[in-house]
Subunit: 614 residues, 2 copies
Amino acid sequence: MTQMLSEEKIFVQTQILRPQLDVEGFRLVSGAFLPELEIAYETYGTLNAYQSNAIFICSHLTSDAHAAGWHSEDDKQPGWWDEMIGPGKSIDTLRHFVIASNMLGGCKGTTGPASIDPRSGKPYGSNFPVIEIADIVNVQRLLTKNLGIDVLEAVIGGSLGGMQALQWTVSYPDKVKKCMGIATAASLSAQALGFEVIGRKVILEDSSFRMGDYYSDGKGPDRGLRLARMIGHLTYLSSASMDTKFGRQHREGIKPGKFETDFSIESYLDHKADAFVGRFDANSYLHITYAMDCFDLARSYGSLEDAFKKTQAEFLLVALSSDWLFPPEQTRDITRVLLKQGKVASEITLNSPYGHDAFLLEVENLGRVIESFLNPVDHTPFPGIRKDSVTESSRRSREKQETIFNSTEDFVRLRDLIEPQSHVLDVGCGDGSLIDFLWKTKRVTGVGIDIDLDSVVACLAKNVPVFQTNVDEGLADVGTGLFDYAILNRTLQEVRHPVMLLRELLRVAKKGIVTFPNFAHLRNRVSLAIQGVMPISESLPYSWHNTPNIHLFSYADFEALCKSEGIHIECALSIGRSVLSRLLVKTGFLNLGAEYAIVRISYQNKPSASINPT
Amino acid sequence: MTQMLSEEKIFVQTQILRPQLDVEGFRLVSGAFLPELEIAYETYGTLNAYQSNAIFICSHLTSDAHAAGWHSEDDKQPGWWDEMIGPGKSIDTLRHFVIASNMLGGCKGTTGPASIDPRSGKPYGSNFPVIEIADIVNVQRLLTKNLGIDVLEAVIGGSLGGMQALQWTVSYPDKVKKCMGIATAASLSAQALGFEVIGRKVILEDSSFRMGDYYSDGKGPDRGLRLARMIGHLTYLSSASMDTKFGRQHREGIKPGKFETDFSIESYLDHKADAFVGRFDANSYLHITYAMDCFDLARSYGSLEDAFKKTQAEFLLVALSSDWLFPPEQTRDITRVLLKQGKVASEITLNSPYGHDAFLLEVENLGRVIESFLNPVDHTPFPGIRKDSVTESSRRSREKQETIFNSTEDFVRLRDLIEPQSHVLDVGCGDGSLIDFLWKTKRVTGVGIDIDLDSVVACLAKNVPVFQTNVDEGLADVGTGLFDYAILNRTLQEVRHPVMLLRELLRVAKKGIVTFPNFAHLRNRVSLAIQGVMPISESLPYSWHNTPNIHLFSYADFEALCKSEGIHIECALSIGRSVLSRLLVKTGFLNLGAEYAIVRISYQNKPSASINPT
């Protein structure tokens, strides 16, 4: 993954759009109107002739239109997501035309409570109307239209920006091709609401707040805003990262007042809050956090299903492992609904220690995830499977067991068990090669599940929707009957609860296809019976102590289990390289001759399809 | 576990002790003096003739001396830990004499900032000196001495109360027999400090605070205290429990002001904060939280090791799985040090969804843990192992495999590999029977490790120190060379990383003793070679798909691994019930005849002990 990182600073300027409005002004969802509207925005890269390469970056709570580049040589730092956006970077401005803006209600150039109300000639203050996330997105839509863009290639945002990205796909279901939400949610959790609520209360309690009309004498509710920012700031960090960064260190040269401390964390909070008060307006903080708290796609549209019903976007949702403000379960809630509706949706949980803030800090892995999602590469056409997209750290099991199994010939055998144009779930999908192959050769669509990050990124890079999760935790997030086939390719022997997983396969799909090494293969029997040691073979290539294969079983064992579970084995194929193996299988000794078994299963009481590939 | 729960209300009264002090008064750690001291306390049960049954309950941040019973018929609720303390309850007042008090600096009868300073005749207010947790404990010691008690049978506390309990063992190392700390830490984490710091700031920012001298006109910093309590309250709850309890529910009949919401969580916080302001003093809140924040045993005594060096107490530390204010890792930090010092220490992590508050709410499991710790029962003397202490839900593997292995005869064979009076670690110790047996028959001391709660409680009930952890996560928390022997009894085949664990065994102990089922036993070979199915036998009693034995291997496999790891097999014994098995082993065919193998291992370069039990 080479990055053509530009060494030169890119200079940009924030621009102001004053869009043409109706006579009454800009209509908010509430029915209220803003008589005038200004939108502060920046763009990076060049819009192509078809206006098809525009990416909208939705900003988070306290960020502004200055997402990338530098305003001047004297700047101390570039835009807030400059590490991600630029020529040759993950959001590559050599390819894409990138737009960022200050959100409605903000205080950095777009109309907000501190703007002058043309009706009174004074700042709006307490007269600024209540806004919703949908209003913020409507303003963004107005901006993109004014820039000559009808359909966005992608909309991307983290945290509150992710909420906006989701709202885009709901408000403008045919105007967004790809939606990426990072560390976000369809509504805040009770805990996050609690901290938000307290944050607003400390501002409202500040005697300088005066209902929001504090602009005239320049004395705003700074003390309240300071405290609110401190509370918020703590929720953006993880406990582990705070322990690493501050621990119980004491800061030198501080003379704390009574009941204050010289702990580093206290001076850090003081410092951050002071800086924030200098750059943010309390009314904007109140309006935007209130909009965030009230954001609830399920409530606004009846249900999450109803909210996303019409969207045509492909989704990628990225959760962060240590994010407790927007915890990964909330991302899962969205993915579950999208999967259920057959939308093209992927989900990744990045392992990061930095808490919610990681979407700004954890650039390396997030960068390659974004890159793979935005620019999937059409790999070598089949037959002939690319291996080079799997990186070093991919699961060893894949790499080694591929030597015997993962050849095109075997994919072909598996494919022959599947009807054309059906929909499959590949549980333990690795780099997505099988789904990619099924799509290219039989127009079979599929969703993959895997726990390994490299595998998941490889799937995205092949345009294979993928859901990063631990198969040992089951398929609980996959809706019933969503798929025609669920495939368990060389995975059953690796899971903790094989029976549970088999049942789950046949819950989420009409049929299951399972491949596994047969422990009763002739060579394995000889190894144990004669040599008294655990077999190591092509199909079971590991030592007993470092094998991922934690459940060993024979074809006969599998057959007996299916019988007791009421599962029908529709057909069973075998793979055995040696002549003797093939001969044994041909003469009916499958359990003795098969190195690998491939079986298609279904529940007996359900009618089976007509394919009989044997 | 029958509980003689009293159906009648027990009535108690809070009493006030005015202890005799030196002329200057009560000396604080800082060197300052309190001219007078009053201590509010309650007692439950009867002190025995030897004064040996006294248990001190240390209260948490906002609780008082009224820990149990009822003050009057009109009370709406009993004392704050009444579910735990009383006749026949977990802290059984028919057996123990229980003492609780309001802490120094509090506002419920014990001297605090709202008390009258005899020197001025006015409340202390801003003149109340800074206090430390050690001061709070010194006052408690004064109280117990005045009650005629020299040595406490136990000191128990949760959260801040747990900090006091730890401080007791440090300040009075020979005056506490047992110490139980629940959801506590040797110092607050950076995250917890952060929330504390903000909580104090909102009080200090309240214009009614006036440096703490607000008693004269009855107008205190109620708004600040309300907000501080809200912040604190959120940290006591888990996100999951808040989602369950509040979610995004809206409360009916509320007319929220601008930027307020009708979310249930907001009205809950308002309600809780209002109630708190009515019963707590802001100065007490500041003083006690400040003492809690500055509590740092490692810093105060040079290191945690130094702090605990002299203590003679037996420890039980209980962490709560969803507690993010006092996270389980902080409990682990204490246990690690105690283990390293050879103290008698146990640690349990209770699986609870309720967050930090669970130490007050999660009564069932906590209750039986406390009960087992306080009143271990001396079980039937060996030989002859009690099985009835293992409850239903104990690991099935134990129960089943016991049929072949866990008889006294087998314990005897294992014991013969161990020197008298040595110190052992039993990894995967189950109910502690082996350690108990080794103690009773050979004065071998031991510590157990197990993940199962029932097993851990059974260990406590046998007075076997135990450390609840997942062996798959390794023995990282066990110091190097702490033990003479580390035992892995029927556990190696169940772990994810057998080689890592073997290395760990020989890191933490001089020798390892490992027992495991031999997969190359004659019967197993026959099963696979002839029948083509996975063996089910006495030593491997499970079906392939629901076995906890995730790594199958033969004695020969084990031998080969030891060779490649440079591990010396000092001696190998076998267990085989059948005559043929015994004959095979006798004639040298250990790998064919042994159903179970018992081996003692060490690193080759270390000299082995002289025992040769064969």
